[in-house]
């Protein structure tokens, strides 16, 4: 387990934890972006270059900005006035903790049976392209359709009524 894994993991956890707990929404989004960049680094660490860069391009580039725009548009950028009651937050955290405990227990009891070490698989963009076009051509098409439908839908939803009425 390399040092870099731990550093990046720490960055990601801090980012995500901050994203979930900060009061100011913009800070949350920014810390989220940090967390996601950390995640992208993890992908790179795991050797999936293409996925890492896609992750950065999609999440950091688009989703974060989208979130920020959403925050701007819904005027929730002001500092949070009233936090949800303690009991509500406590129960949420408690449940999350139990879920984590169970998953951890599951992982710890399961991974013993998997082979611990394997060589760094070399993957090139070319191979991904070929795989996309051959094995996964159907999902590609479906994703294409899905994305167009989603974006058109999002546009219509977000469009201002008065604009649509003309």
């Amino acid at each position: 387990m390399t040092i870099s894994f731990f550093i990046i993991a720490a960055i990601t956890i801090v980012g995500t934890a901050a994203a979930m707990s900060l009061k100011n929404l913009v800070h949350c989004v920014l810390s989220l972006t940090l967390g996601l960049v950390g995640l992208a680094l993890l992908f790179l660490l795991l050797g999936a270059q293409f996925v890492g860069f896609t992750q950065i391009l999609v999440y950091v580039g688009a989703v974060a900005i989208l979130a920020v725009f959403a925050i701007m548009m819904t005027r929730s950028a002001e500092p949070m006035t009233n936090l949800p009651p303690a009991s509500f937050r406590l129960s949420g955290v408690l449940i999350a903790a139990t879920v984590f405990a169970v998953l951890a227990w599951a992982i710890s009891s399961a991974t013993r049976s998997l082979p611990s070490q394997s060589s760094q698989p070399e993957v090139s963009v070319n191979q991904i392209g070929v795989a996309l076009m051959h094995q996964f051509v159907l999902p590609l098409e479906v994703i294409g359709v899905l994305l167009t439908a989603a974006l058109v839908g999002a546009a219509i939803l977000a469009m201002d009524e008065t604009g649509a009425s003309r």
Binding site: F88, S91, G92, I95, A96, T98, V99, V102, L103, W105, A106, S109
Partner: protein, 700 residues
């Protein structure tokens, strides 16, 4: 088959037609009614005489005197029921007698009913009665006879109850009809039984009629399960019809009460014709009656005839005994009719058709004479009927007195001159020679004595002594509306239209006897189709003389006794006790009330029927209805039970179920609170549980 036989049906139909026309006529005119009735009656009389002459001619020419005309009435099954009429000496005699007497009574009643406002209806009923009576006489079919018989009963009911506003008259009418109806029902059963056995109801149907030898012999052979011969059984049932109609012993109660009707009615119906119908019926079916299984030569009377004789003789004695103690003038005559009918039945039973019929003819004349005489007396005494309130009318109403006396003597059978003597003597002679027993002879003789006694009592009461009528001018009104009062209070002679028929009848009462004297028995031979020859010697032969002598002695004894008790010193006042009654008051009052037979019947039969009717009504209301009610109540009970179960058990149970469901529904909806985080928590929880489960499963 000459004209008269073919058209014999005109005789009964003419009066009926007259009755119909007068009933339907719009204008209520007395002249029309009277003329119609009398006209039709006289026409019938002429036709009857023609028929009589025709029969005489046949007899003289030696041909069989019986002629029959049958016609088909209706078809049922493969056979036709045919009716018909016949003409034989018996019919001829009866036709003449009934039409002649009827005519006289019609004329008489014109006078008698002059003041009555229902004049038309009276004559209409009389005509109808006459028609029905003639129908009975000429019919050749027992069913046709029965039908006319019933119509006669109906008319007698109507005529008795003529003054219907008087409740006693209405009750008398009803009683008459019901009692005769009892006889008729048995008669009807006899007819039905006969029809079943012999297959025909025609008397004579050239060989096939049931009175002819073949049917009779067939009937004789049959015996019912109870052992009596069918012929006797049928004969007895038919005789019951006769008993009912002729007022013989058990069914005689209606005759005295029938006196409530107007006197001409009593005369016509209860003296001459209707009551005689019973005797005529027995005479008509005599061959059936006398049929017996014994050998042809030995004259053994069949059981039926024996029964007839016994009933006849007892009724004769019984009628006479009661007649002695009666006060109402017409009741005395009624009871005397009952006893005389008993004589006739006895005559038929012992002597055969001719003996009975001769007495019937003679009796018809002098009894109708007596009744009409009583009628004129009542008419004279302005409706008074109680002999105790009369007296001394001999001088006031000489013609009535003389004719009445002749009738009385004829009735008692005063020797030699009076018809009653000969006819009664025939009967007594026959009874004397009866081989079964002499009891009927003695009963007949004693009845003759009593007849003489009570008739003399009546004559002395009415005609002798001083008139007791003056004491009570306004006696209790006989009937609210009978307006037979005359202006003057004292009794007076009736008008000519009433007295002339009396004279004619008295003449006949005298002369008729000579037709049937033993010396020249024309009448008997006429009936039996035997040749007749004058034979004065007959008196001496066959024990005729002693019987004649003994009967004349009895009559004279009776008359002297009557004179002794009533002639010598007639009672002074109306309410003085009867001289004879003084001897034994208790017996006398018993006899006065007709031995309480009315009360006995009332107590027994009437009470029984009312009781039975009440029982059946009770049965109806409670038993059958009760059963239905119980069913309905049980059903209602079940309904209520079901209702109870329904509301308490099922409903409440169901409601509980509903509540629990709705409550749990509310609980469940809590989950759907709309808070998204809530759902997420649940999902997370589920995830936890699921993974634990998987792991746990994987571990084992």
């Amino acid at each position: 088959m000459n004209w008269i036989v073919r058209n014999l049906w005109l005789v009964p139909v003419l009066p009926v037609l007259a009755a119909g026309i007068s009933a339907l006529a719009k204008r209520k005119s007395r002249v029309l009614a009277a003329s119609l009735a009398i006209g039709s009656m006289s026409l019938s009389f002429l036709l009857s005489v023609w028929a009589f002459a025709h029969v005489l001619a046949l007899r003289n020419s030696g041909q069989p005197s019986l002629q029959v005309f049958n016609f088909r009435w209706f078809q049922f099954g493969n056979e036709w029921l045919s009716l018909g009429w016949m003409l034989d000496p018996l019919t001829a005699v009866m036709l003449v007698m009934v039409t002649f007497v009827g005519l006289l009574i019609f004329i008489y009643s014109v006078g008698y009913m002059e003041h009555d406002d229902n004049f038309m209806r009276f004559f209409c009923f009389l005509a109808l009665f006459a028609g029905a009576m003639l129908g009975v006489i000429i019919s050749n079919n027992l069913l046709l006879l029965f039908m006319c018989w019933e119509i006669v009963g109906l008319t007698s009911y109507l005529l008795i109850g003529f003054w219907f506003s008087n409740p006693k008259a209405a009750a008398a009418g009803k009683k008459a009809f019901i009692v005769t109806r009892i006889g008729d029902v048995l008669f009807f059963l006899g007819i039905v039984w006969l029809y079943a056995q012999s297959g025909t109801l025609l008397f004579y149907d050239n060989g096939a009629g049931f009175l002819e030898h073949s049917a009779i012999s067939h009937l004789l052979t049959q015996t019912t399960t109870t052992g009596i011969c069918v012929a006797t059984g049928i004969a007895l049932l038919i005789f019951c019809g006769a008993v009912g109609k002729s007022g013989q012993f058990p069914l005689h109660v209606w005759l005295p009460d029938a006196m409530e009707g107007p006197t001409p009615v009593s005369a016509l119906i209860h003296a001459a014709t209707m009551v005689a119908a019973g005797v005529f019926l027995v005479a008509r079916v005599y061959p059936l009656m006398s049929a017996h299984t014994g050998l042809a030569d030995v004259i053994t009377t069949s059981t039926a005839l024996q029964a007839v004789t016994w009933v006849g003789s007892f009724t004769a004695l019984f009628g006479a005994v009661i007649a002695v103690a009666q006060y109402d003038i017409k009741r005395i005559l009624a009871y005397s009719t009952v006893s005389q009918l008993g004589y006739m039945m006895m005559g038929l039973g012992v002597g055969g058709v001719s003996v009975g019929m001769f007495h019937l003819i003679t009796h018809a004349f002098f009894k109708s004479l007596l009744f009409l005489g009583a009628g004129s007396v009542i008419h004279g005494c302005s409706g008074e009927q109680d002999i105790r309130k009369m007296g001394g009318l001999g001088k006031l109403m000489p013609v009535t007195f003389v004719t009445y006396a002749i009738g009385m003597l004829a009735l008692c059978g005063f020797p030699l001159f009076f018809s009653g003597f000969w006819s009664k003597d025939e009967i007594l002679h026959a009874a004397h020679t009866w081989n079964i027993s002499q009891a009927p002879f003695y009963m007949g003789a004693f009845a003759a004595l009593l007849t003489a006694f009570y008739m003399s009592r009546q004559v002395f009461y009415v005609f002798a002594g001083t008139s007791r009528l003056a004491e009570e001018h306004h006696d209790h009104a006989h009937a609210a509306d009978t307006s037979s009062h005359h202006g003057s209070g004292s009794p007076h002679e009736s008008p000519a239209v009433m007295t002339v028929p009396l004279m004619i009848l008295s003449a006949f009462a005298l002369l008729l006897g000579f037709l049937g004297t033993p010396a020249w028995p024309w009448f008997q031979s006429f009936l039996e189709d035997a040749p007749v020859s004058v034979n004065f010697g007959a008196f001496l032969t066959g024990g005729m003389l002693p019987v004649m002598l003994s009967s004349s002695v009895i009559v004279l004894l009776g008359l002297t006794l009557g004179w002794w008790f009533f002639g010598r010193k007639p009672i002074e006042s109306a309410d003085a006790p009867d001289n004879f009654g003084k001897l034994s008051p208790s017996i006398f009052t018993a006899l006065g009330n007709a031995l309480y037979f009315d009360a006995i019947y009332g107590a027994t039969f009437v009470k029984l029927t009312t009781l039975l009717s009440r029982i059946s009504d009770w049965l109806d209301r409670w038993v059958w209805n009760g059963a239905v009610q119980t069913v309905t109540y049980t059903v209602l009970g079940f309904a209520h039970l079901d209702n109870f179960l329904d509301t308490n058990v099922v409903n409440s149970g169901f409601d509980e179920g509903c509540d629990t469901v709705s409550r749990s529904g509310k609980l469940l909806s809590m989950l759907q609170a709309g808070r998204i985080q809530g759902y997420l928590k649940i999902v997370a929880g589920a995830l936890v549980v699921f993974t634990i489960f998987l792991l746990w499963k994987a571990k084992i």
